[in-house]
């Protein structure tokens, strides 16, 4: 059996009485004070997440043309100092991973899902992209919540939304995965205490992967392995807005065909009013169109169950029928975001 990796913050998590979960080969905190408390903390105040398990690759600028041919968004024509969400596609236009880029003057930082680090590394190598894997040399901490920026302002210069900055110690961007404002801060392991001491001095509370998942779901954000996989394209995953790449890229023909014909699977958001949660894998019907729940959990803000479901084609009704442990449970499609 392979021992899971431990975050550079592991001892701190132990000190903070974290409950751990094995995730993508890493032993990471699932919760501390409880998922709902941590969820409320991030929605109403501020909390921090250790996301050091996520892959971090430093890509040489000389490879930007190749990189641009592997993703569905335009990394070439965004300014230096900007952050970009995009998707690595395969030959069929399906998602190899969804990632964030921080574009600096002399390099591009790629942040990928932990579960896909090897896949993306091998993919980049096979395409002769020059990069360096700095995952194990660094830590990545997301500080999120309505009070995040005014506290972080005492540590670093706050960038514009979806922008990135670096100083001698911290490399960071104003992105996030919770629906709240905040920064994701990367630091060399040798400077780790500079951020952990800061978080401690402002008594910012740690939050685990449990609340990260309920927050991202409530913020209508997809998670690789659930909404996204090698069987689904950005078009099918309701991520058409990421298709800013005007040049040909891997799988772009398939994606353009889907855009043209409209003949593809469709990801929908749903709510359920009864006391049931339709979890990942639950079968659902919308009229005659069948689907499967990709993620489902409780929304603390809406006080009801919410989730994403992938349908074989676009349903012509908003009324859904879930099959939950042998019972039929009604739900409905939601067109807007869960959080207004």
């Amino acid at each position: 059996m392979v021992e899971p990796y431990l975050s550079p913050l592991h001892n701190l998590h132990v000190k903070n009485n974290a409950k751990f979960i094995e995730f993508a080969g890493w032993n990471m905190p699932f919760s501390y004070s409880g998922t709902l408390k941590e969820h409320a903390l991030v929605r109403n105040d501020v909390g921090y997440f250790d996301v050091s398990h996520m892959g971090r690759l430093k890509i040489n600028n000389v490879s930007i043309d190749i990189l641009n041919s592997l993703i569905c968004s335009d990394i070439k024509n965004i300014e230096n100092g900007k952050a970009l969400y995009s998707i690595f596609t395969d030959n069929n236009g399906c998602a190899l991973d969804d990632v964030i880029f921080w574009k600096f003057n002399n390099y591009i930082l790629l942040i990928c899902n932990a579960v896909n680090l090897n896949k993306i590394s091998n993919h980049l190598k096979s395409q002769n992209v020059e990069f360096q894997d700095i995952t194990k040399e660094t830590a990545l901490i997301a500080v999120q919540g309505p009070n995040a920026l005014k506290i972080l302002d005492n540590l670093i210069t706050i960038p514009e939304s979806f922008s990135c900055l670096a100083d001698e110690i911290f490399t960071y961007a104003r992105t996030g995965y919770t629906g709240e404002d905040g920064l994701e801060v990367m630091v060399d392991i040798k400077n780790l205490e500079k951020i952990t001491n800061f978080l401690d001095s402002y008594e910012i509370q740690p939050c685990g992967l449990g609340s990260r998942d309920t927050l991202r779901l409530e913020a209508s954000l997809p998670l690789y392995g659930f909404e996204l996989s090698e069987d689904i394209t950005p078009v099918e995953a309701s991520l058409k807005w990421t298709l800013s790449n005007k040049e040909p890229y891997l799988g772009s023909e398939s994606i353009n065909r889907q855009l043209h014909t409209g003949d593809h699977k469709v990801l929908k958001k749903f709510t359920i009013d009864s006391r049931n949660i339709a979890r990942s894998g639950t079968k659902v019907m919308a009229g005659g169109i069948s689907g499967i729940v990709t993620s489902g959990n409780y929304s603390p803000i809406l006080s009801k169950a919410i989730g994403f479901a992938l349908f074989d084609s676009d349903p012509d009704t908003d009324l859904l029928e879930f099959e939950i442990r042998g019972n039929l449970v009604e739900g409905k499609v939601i067109k807007k975001r869960f959080l207004s």
Partner: protein, 120 residues
């Protein structure tokens, strides 16, 4: 009044004359995470030992509580409808789920000491 006994499926029951009170253990609530919905049975509903009586939805997962013996529901803890989190905060007290009249006594649950070694 006897002591609380525990099942391998992490329910506890407390037998008092012919009535049992049933809930889930502190260990079970900890494993489930934050409980958000509880679906309770109806008064008068009859269960056989091992039947699913209560459905507990938590942020981490869903679980069922099973009947420790054949019984008929006499009372349900309706406060759990609006405050399911009571099961997290006081699983063996205010977080009880149902009371039931015993139809076939089966007092084979574990005492706490034995349950404690079972879960560790």
């Amino acid at each position: 009044m006897t002591e609380k006994k525990y099942l391998e499926t992490h329910e506890w029951y407390l037998l008092s004359e012919n009535i049992i009170t049933i809930g889930i253990s502190d260990y079970a609530q900890g494993e489930l995470g934050d409980i958000v919905f509880v679906t309770l049975p109806e008064v008068g509903q009859e269960f056989f030992k091992g039947d699913s009586m209560v459905e507990v939805e938590a942020t981490k997962t869903v679980a069922e509580a099973y009947a420790p013996m054949d019984c008929v529901i006499t009372e349900v803890n309706t406060s759990l409808d609006s405050e399911p989190e009571t099961i997290n905060t006081d699983p063996c007290g205010e977080g009880w789920m149902v009371k039931a009249e015993v139809k076939a006594l089966d007092d084979s649950g574990m005492l706490y000491q034995e349950y404690e070694s079972f879960i560790s």
